[in-house]
């Protein structure tokens, strides 16, 4: 049953990285989505992750399980980034202001690409960890033969 903990940990990591990836992809997709003059539109998002900090005064076997469960990463929230929209010159656009500028979300494309790559590498790491857990458990099944 202990291998279940390993799979759960790696699975939680994969879920977090996938969310991070999705948010970055969403930001990139909306990089040029025009924001209306009334301010209705997309704002770039970012992911906040965290764990529950665990302090154990003594050690026992059950403490290990609880400690690991509390350290599993989880998404604590998806919030808007603190960036102001950029201005693009599009004089004929219906949403343009009197100077001919439209507002688009202030998506930092380089940062979002970096987030994508980071999420991808971390996801691969979690996959490797899960495969290692699987192979170890399978080898344990071979005892005696």
């Amino acid at each position: 049953m202990d291998w279940l903990t390993s799979f759960a940990i790696s699975g939680a990591g994969m879920k977090v990285e996938q969310t991070r990836f999705n948010v970055a992809a969403l930001n990139l997709a909306n990089a040029n989505a025009v924001i209306g003059r009334d301010g209705a539109g997309f704002r770039p998002l970012s992911v906040i992750t965290g764990t529950t900090n665990y302090s154990a005064p003594f050690k026992s076997y059950m403490q290990n399980e609880q400690m690991l469960a509390s350290y599993a990463p989880r998404i604590q929230g998806i919030v808007e980034q603190n960036v102001s929209p950029r201005q693009i010159s599009m004089p004929g656009h219906p949403e343009a202001d009197d100077k001919g500028f439209v507002q688009v979300p202030g998506v930092n494309s380089t940062l979002e690409m970096l987030n994508i790559i980071t999420a991808l590498r971390a996801y691969e790491g979690n996959v490797v960890a899960m495969n290692a857990a699987k192979s170890m458990a399978q080898k344990a099944l071979d005892i005696g033969s």
């Binding site: 790696s10 994969m14 977090v16 050690k59 690991l68 971390a122 960890a129 290692a132 170890m136 005696g144």
Partner: protein, 118 residues
């Protein structure tokens, strides 16, 4: 058949399984700021028991457990994905080696049981 090797090897198997979970947790939290990497405390407990006393009740008190990595040079430790993968490979191989060695070692006694007739 001497049994101290078997007892220590079984503890080492427990430690290796726990170590895998600590490494998996570190990898899962690689992009999580403020997360302190985990490790397993086992070899230190073995080292504290003198080598010629590693048997019987002295081994009873040894339990592998998970703890946070301590600060080195005053810096909080961070998760490095490449080092975690290296540790993962080492630990996996160590676990498989222990399994195989224990399996072969116990089968020696099996010879006495099955082939020693009369």
């Amino acid at each position: 058949m001497p049994t101290e090797g078997m007892a220590i090897a079984r503890l080492a198997l427990d430690a290796a399984m726990l170590r895998h979970q600590a490494i998996a947790s570190n990898i899962a939290n690689v992009n999580n700021p403020g997360y302190v990497p985990l490790r397993v405390n086992f070899e230190e407990q073995l080292a504290s028991v003198a080598e010629n006393q590693r048997s019987g009740d002295k081994l009873q008190g040894i339990t592998p457990f998970i703890e946070q990595e301590s600060k080195s040079n005053g810096l909080t430790p961070q998760v490095a994905l490449d080092m975690e993968i290296v540790k993962l490979n080492m630990n996996t191989l160590h676990y498989q080696a222990l399994l195989r060695a224990i399996s072969r070692y116990t089968s020696i006694e099996g010879i006495a049981i099955t082939e020693g007739r009369r």
